[in-house]
Each structure stands twice: as structure tokens, then as C-alpha cells.
């Protein structure tokens, strides 16, 4: 069987995995950005919240005394700023173009805050970035109220530290999420492909001639493919069996009339006196024999093909098979005064397989030995149980000469040494196919002890 070339594209598992991992990476990154964004915003809002609480507390403590603005700075207004972190704190109370108290160099807000609307700003002050909040509060009697601006500022080192922690945590969590998701993707890809793999191995496990429809569990998506495959196999099977039927039928139909023709030819041969007429009839008989042999072997070959499709695995005794074949061919051998020596063990040799096929094999091998041996010679049938079971048939015939031993097993191939011996070139082909179907082979070599051939059926040990 020649393997047709396929063009494998990227594996589904890999594609699925990369796609899922890609999605996981995108989600992880989005997750990271969102977590960090939200957390940093929360941290900033916390600082802004405390800053405005502080500024409001200071503004609430402002009052007017004798027309002057006075302030009793509440302790909590500044101490609350120290609760979250150890950031530096600055403040400035400003009214009437002058600083009432606090840090006179702390910048005033660019935009004047309106009542109830604090202004937040971020800028540099004394070497650090500060977050500043400013609130405005009118102080004094409603007619002569003076606008006081309270600015409270705090450095953002704590915020930066928080932000670093959040970034680290978010990175860790996102990485963990990514790894977990990737692991799950791997699993999901495998799980998704498991039915395909089951199906693949169900199909791959089959013997070369197993053309039964696939019945393994099939995921919905693959049902059309499997259906197509099954229907293809059904057609193939039908086509194969039609071919075999045809051969068998043809062989049979050819053989029967040939037998009649041969009988007639022999009768005629006996009646004829002229040598040239007798020669012509003998050649005719020989041609008939060839045709008949070919038809018989073709029929056997078709039978072999058919039976190996669904190879029987019966419990058999190799010794009994050999005996039977030897008995069957005994008469033919006797005609040539050939002595068949059975060098067999006493005990049965148990094997599993198809008895009919194995018999056909042995028969072909023994038939060859008899056919290609001279009269009054010996043929030895021996069994050597090694690591494999060797059934060897050794003769004292003409041997293979310098024929290409490997080619002898191909169909319709006969050796150059056959002379006028009738044959079709299918015997070793049949033997080889049966041996292969049983997991074994046919071994062909010259007889080690002198002239002749030694052909063996080699079967694996049970």
C-alpha cells in the first residue's frame, strides 16, 4: 500500500491552545489595567478625601474676632493626615492678599475655589510632588465677610508606595490568572480533541482490510465526516467484493469447461497416430493445464484476499495441518517416487489462525517442492520452534539458481528455472499474504545441505 501524501496544516490543539492563551493574555492584561486603575483611583480618592476633610475642618475653625480673622487650628485637621502614611504636610491660610498662617510659599490654587467646591491640584513643593486641596470660606458678618482660602497639601510618597504595592499585586494576580488560564486552555484543548483522538485510534487500530463502518462515539461536529468515511468504506467494500466475486466466478467458469476440453483432448491424443498431431495435442493439453492452474490459483488468491479481510483466529494444531497437507499431496509425490520426510515433534503445536489459509500456504510450498524436485528424491518437512515457529520445506531439486529471491513473491512472477513445469506464479504470493496476515513471513533460501531449496513459513510465537 503506498501512503498518499498529506499536507498537514497547523494542529488544531496548538491553534486552540494559542487562541485560548491569547485570549487569556488579553484578559489578564485588561484585568491588570483595571485593577491597578481602580485601586490607584481609590487610593487617590482616599487622599483627596482626607485632604478635603482636613481643609474643611480648618475652614470650620475660622472665625472673626473684632473684624480680624482668627483661627484655632484643630489638632485633628493635621493629625488625620498622618493616619494613612508618613507624608509631609503643608498648609496655608490666606486672606486679604496675605498669609494668615502656615507656609507662605505654598502656592495658592490657580483657580480660585468657590464656596463648597474644593479645588484639587498636583504640583511640586519643596522638592516633592504634593497633592493640594483649597477651599474658600467667607468669614465674618454677612456684609463685611472676608474670603479666606485654606490650602492643605500633602506629599504623595505614601500614595506612590501604595501604587507600587498595588501594581506588584495586580501583576502577580494577572500573571497567576494568565498561568491558570493557560493551563486550563491546555486542558480544554486536549479535552476538546479527545473524541477526535478516540475516533482516530479506533480507525487506526483496524487491520488493513477491515472495512466495517466506524461505530465509535462521534462528536456531532464529526458525524458528517465519519458518515462520509463510512459510506466511502461501504462502497469500497462492495467494489472489492464485487471484484473478488467476479474473479472467483470467472475462474470457476473457466475451469469447468477447461476440464471438459482437457478430457476431450486426452481422448483425442490417444486416438492420434501421427507424431506431429500428438505433439500439437500435447501442447494444447499443456496450455489447458496452465490455464486451469492459473484459474485455480487465482481463485485461491481471491479466497485468501477475502478471508484475510476478517481473519479468523481459531485454535489450531500446526502438526495436524502439516500432516493433512502431506497426506493430501502424498499421491502426487508418489508419482515421482519422492519421499516426504516429516521431521515433526510428537506433541501438538498450538497456534492461532485461519486453518484454511494456513493449509493453502503449506500446500503451495509443498507443491513447489514436489514440482521443482527430480524423481526419486527426498523432501523434508521440519518444524523448528525458535523465537518464532519455523515450518521449513527442504527439497533436493533445482533450487533457485541466481533468481532474485525477493521478486519471486510478487504476483505472476515465475523463476527462470521452471522449464516446462506448469505454474501461474501465484503460489508464493498466496503464501506470503497469508503469512503477513498472521504476522509472519515466508523465508526463501537455498538448501543448506547441497542442491535444492528451503522455503519456510515463519510465524510469530504465541
Amino acid at each position: 500500500m503506498t501512503a498518499t501524501k498529506m499536507h498537514p496544516t497547523a494542529s488544531i490543539r496548538q491553534n486552540l491552545f494559542y487562541q485560548l492563551a491569547g485570549v487569556a493574555a488579553i484578559l489578564s492584561f485588561a484585568f491588570f489595567l483595571i485593577v491597578r486603575g481602580v485601586a490607584e483611583q481609590a487610593a487617590e480618592m482616599t487622599q483627596d478625601g482626607i485632604l478635603s476633610a482636613s481643609a474643611t475642618a480648618i475652614a470650620d475653625a475660622l472665625r472673626s474676632e473684632g473684624g480680624a480673622v482668627v483661627l484655632d487650628l484643630p489638632y485633628s485637621a493635621l493629625s488625620m493626615l498622618g493616619t494613612l502614611n508618613e507624608d509631609r504636610v503643608f498648609y496655608r491660610i490666606y486672606t486679604d492678599q496675605q498669609t494668615l498662617t502656615g507656609y507662605p510659599d505654598l502656592p495658592l490654587p490657580d483657580e480660585r475655589p468657590r464656596r463648597g467646591e474644593p479645588v484639587f491640584e498636583t504640583h511640586e513643593f519643596r522638592g516633592d510632588e504634593v497633592r493640594a486641596v483649597s477651599v474658600m470660606r467667607p468669614v465674618g458678618a454677612s456684609g463685611a465677610a472676608r474670603n479666606v482660602i485654606v490650602t492643605v497639601a500633602q506629599t504623595r510618597l505614601g500614595l506612590e508606595a501604595t501604587s507600587r504595592t498595588i501594581t506588584t499585586t495586580a501583576t502577580g494576580v494577572a500573571a497567576g490568572f494568565f498561568l491558570a488560564a493557560t493551563g486550563l486552555s491546555l486542558w480544554a484543548a486536549s479535552a476538546a480533541l479527545a473524541p477526535i483522538e478516540r475516533l482516530t485510534s479506533a480507525v487506526a487500530r483496524r487491520g488493513p482490510y477491515d472495512l466495517r463502518p466506524v461505530t465509535a462515539d462521534t462528536p456531532t461536529e464529526l458525524v458528517p465526516l465519519v458518515d462520509a468515511l463510512n459510506s466511502f468504506m461501504t462502497r469500497l467494500r462492495a467494489s472489492l467484493s464485487r471484484t473478488e466475486d467476479f474473479i472467483a466466478e470467472a475462474a470457476h467458469r473457466v475451469r469447468t469447461p477447461l476440464a471438459t476440453v482437457r478430457t476431450q483432448a486426452e481422448v483425442t491424443h490417444r486416438k492420434l497416430n501421427k507424431p506431429e498431431h500428438r505433439l500439437a495435442i500435447r501442447e494444447m493439453i499443456r496450455a489447458i493445464d496452465e490455464s486451469s492452474r492459473s484459474a485455480g490459483q487465482m481463485l485461491d488468491h481471491a479466497m485468501v484476499k477475502f478471508r484475510t479481510d476478517t481473519l479468523a483466529s481459531d485454535q489450531l494444531d500446526m502438526r495436524a495441518l502439516i500432516d493433512e497437507v502431506c497426506d493430501r499431496l502424498g499421491a502426487t509425490a508418489d508419482l515421482k517416487d519422492i519421499d516426504i520426510i516429516r521431521d515433526l515433534p510428537d506433541d501438538p503445536i498450538p497456534i492461532h489462525g485461519d486453518g484454511i489459509l494456513l493449509q493453502a500456504t503449506l500446500q503451495n510450498l509443498l507443491d513447489n517442492a514436489i514440482k521443482y524436485s527430480p524423481e526419486d528424491s527426498r523432501i523434508t518437512v521440519s518444524v523448528t520452534p525458535n523465537d518464532a515457529l519455523w515450518v521449513s520445506i527442504t527439497d533436493e531439486g533445482r533450487g533457485f539458481g541466481d533468481a532474485d529471491l525477493t521478486r519471486l513473491k510478487t504476483r505472476y512472477t515465475r523463476g527462470a528455472n521452471v522449464g516446462d513445469i506448469v505454474g501461474s506464479g501465484l503460489g508464493l504470493t498466496i503464501a506470503d499474504e497469508v503469512a503477513s496476515a498472521h504476522g509472519g513471513r515466508i523465508d526463501i533460501k537455498p538448501n543448506e545441505n547441497g542442491a535444492g531449496a528451503c522455503v519456510s513459513l515463519v510465524l510469530p510465537r504465541e
Binding site: L71, D72, L73, L100, T101
Partner: protein, 346 residues
């Protein structure tokens, strides 16, 4: 060995004192030369020489190549020297937590982190810039002579009640800090005003009884020990303990309602030239706990978390921006006005 070292110190002290011209008043100054050639560590401090000398000498034992210049000033002068004049010192040691906090907050202190500073409890350091190495309670000191077998008051309410009960006995015979002059007194007074309503009542009563005002714990203890004063309020506990070793005639009482505990702190100013030795000194100070000999010699109680667990009335003053509040000029003016209204009734 001992003699030339002493002579060198005195000479150095004299020359420095005569040539100095600062906007701050140097009370004491001493140069401790090194036994090997090396660096000079310049310390500005509010702790008296006799208190700190054992620590300095022990430090020099461990770092023989470091000469030490030690300048003693008032808390306000220390602040002025570094904040306003940018005077170059390698280390500033002060009992005024609020002023040290302000120096750090306003960017006059350097960061420093070491295993020794990390080992401090959280409440004993701020911003990795201000490091506490002693915890010193403000206590009530009472005269043995005056109280005799009588039980002295154990909390502020009892103290107020006692003073109100017999004003004639106590008139002119109670003492406390003049918070206008003493940084420590001001810090304790402001913390008192935060902690308890009783504080203003107490000041009111003390004012009515014509309390004597002092600049320093030493004088208050001297007058209590001699029996001139019946009691003195808010005396520096570590100082009182050290005096008790050499004089008697007085008792130290930690009031049971609460006791403010001041933390003596060190920081490295940004203008420091010899940062490495200053850091070594900070490590040395923060590990004072491991040197009982020095604690005994200086009478400076080291930082010890257990003390606060043992006595829950003890309250370490918390670092943080809250300490800036009473340094606010308006706040300070208002506080002093209140204080004067209470204490200076005549």
C-alpha cells in the same frame, strides 16, 4: 592617655566658645578627639553634656577614629540653627519631638534605613528620618518634707481637689514649666490640653495659688527637694530619677490617669557633611537598649515597648503632622494667651 585627652578637650572647648558667633546661644560645647586620625562627627543636642558624655565615649570606643564635637543648645535654638541658619551639623538630637517633626516635615532631615532603625517600634520613628532612642515620662515631683506621711495625689483630679481644699498650704509652693520659655514644657502642656479637660482646671487652680514658673526641670527638683516647693508638675522623669540618685527629699509620682511620654529623637540634617558617622551614631543610639551600663550612666531610659504594656497610663506622644498644629503661630499665640490667662491671674 587620659590626661592629654582631657586637656585637648578643654582647649578645644575654650577656643570654640570664644570664636563662635551664631544666631543661637551655645550653652556647652566639648570636643572629644579621636585616638586615631579620622573623621569628625558634629552633634547639636539639647541633652546636657554630663548626661550624654558616657554615650559619646562608648560610641568612640566602638569607633575610635571618630572625633566628636558636641554642642548643647536650647530646643528652640536647635530649631533656629538648622531651620533658619542652615548650620552644618551631622546629627541633631532633641527632646522637642514637635520641632524635630517640623524639621523632617519641612525637608530638613535625611532618610536613613538600617536594621537597627527598622527594629524600632513604629511609634518610635517617623518617615525614616526621625528616630527616637529614649522614652521619658513627664511626672509629678512631691516634697517629702511637705507631705510627710500624707498620701500625695495619684491623679490630676485628686491633685486639683487637694489644691482647692487647702489653698493656703500650697500658695506659692507649687511649680511648673514656664511654657513660654521651655520647649519641653510647651510640648507637655499642649499634649495635656489635648488629653484632658482637667488640664485647664489644674492651670486655673495653679494660677490662683500663684504657681512658680521654671525654665528647667533641674531647678524645680532642687526647690522641691529643699522643701521650698510642695510639688512640681510636669517634671522630666528621667532627670528626676537621675537626681534622686544624688539627692533625696522628694518623690516621683507617675499620675495614674495618664502620663505623657516624650521621645528624645535624633535626625540627620540635610546639611550634614559626615553622614556615615551620623548614621553609625543613630544605630548606636537606637540600640541603647542593649547597653544597660549606658542607660544607668546617662539615666536615659531606652525605647522599650514592654513599659507601655506594663503601665497603660503611659502614652508615648505620637509622631505625625498633628505635632505641627501647636507650632502654628496663631495656635501658639492662642494657647499661650489661654495659658497666661489661667496661670498669671495677678
Amino acid at each position: 592617655m587620659r590626661f592629654p585627652r582631657l586637656a585637648a578637650r578643654i582647649i578645644a572647648a575654650l577656643t570654640l566658645l570664644t570664636t563662635a558667633s551664631h544666631g543661637y546661644e551655645v550653652e556647652q560645647q566639648m570636643h572629644y578627639p579621636s585616638t586615631q586620625d579620622g573623621t569628625v562627627l558634629r552633634i547639636i543636642s539639647t541633652a546636657d553634656l554630663n548626661v550624654f558624655e558616657p554615650i559619646l565615649l562608648a560610641f568612640q570606643d566602638m569607633h575610635p577614629s571618630v572625633a566628636v564635637d558636641y554642642v548643647v543648645v536650647e530646643t528652640a535654638d536647635l530649631m533656629h540653627a538648622i531651620y533658619a541658619e542652615g548650620a552644618s551639623f551631622d546629627l541633631a538630637i532633641s527632646s522637642a519631638m514637635d520641632l524635630q517633626t517640623k524639621l523632617a516635615n519641612d525637608g530638613f532631615a535625611q532618610d536613613y534605613t538600617s536594621p537597627a532603625t527598622q527594629a524600632l517600634p513604629d511609634w518610635a520613628r517617623w518617615r525614616n528620618q526621625v528616630f527616637a532612642f529614649t522614652q521619658e515620662p513627664a511626672v509629678l515631683v512631691v516634697s517629702d518634707d511637705f507631705f510627710g506621711t500624707e498620701h500625695p495625689p495619684t491623679n490630676r483630679d485628686e491633685l486639683i481637689a487637694l489644691l482647692r481644699e487647702s489653698p493656703e498650704r500650697f500658695r506659692g509652693r507649687i511649680g511648673t514649666y514656664d511654657v513660654r520659655r521651655s520647649g519641653f514644657g510647651y510640648l507637655m502642656a499642649t499634649q495635656d490640653s489635648r488629653n484632658s479637660e482637667a488640664y485647664w482646671r489644674l492651670m486655673e487652680v495653679m494660677g490662683r495659688l500663684e504657681a512658680e514658673l521654671y525654665c528647667c526641670s533641674g531647678e524645680m527638683i532642687r526647690d522641691v527637694a529643699s522643701g521650698n516647693l510642695a510639688l512640681a508638675y510636669n517634671v522630666l522623669g528621667s532627670y528626676a530619677t537621675s537626681q534622686l540618685a544624688i539627692t533625696d527629699g522628694f518623690r516621683i509620682i507617675e499620675l495614674s490617669d495618664y502620663v505623657n511620654v516624650m521621645l528624645r529623637t535624633a535626625l540627620i540634617p540635610v546639611t550634614a557633611e559626615n553622614v556615615a558617622d551620623a548614621q553609625a551614631m543613630i544605630d548606636f543610639l537606637t540600640m541603647l537598649e542593649t547597653r544597660p551600663d549606658l542607660i544607668a550612666a546617662s539615666n536615659l531610659p531606652s525605647i522599650a515597648q514592654e513599659t507601655f504594656r506594663a503601665n497603660t497610663a503611659l502614652r508615648p506622644i505620637r509622631f505625625g503632622p498633628g505635632l505641627l498644629v501647636f507650632l502654628d503661630q496663631l495656635k501658639r499665640a492662642a494657647f499661650l494667651r489661654n495659658w497666661e490667662d489661667s496661670l498669671l491671674q495677678n
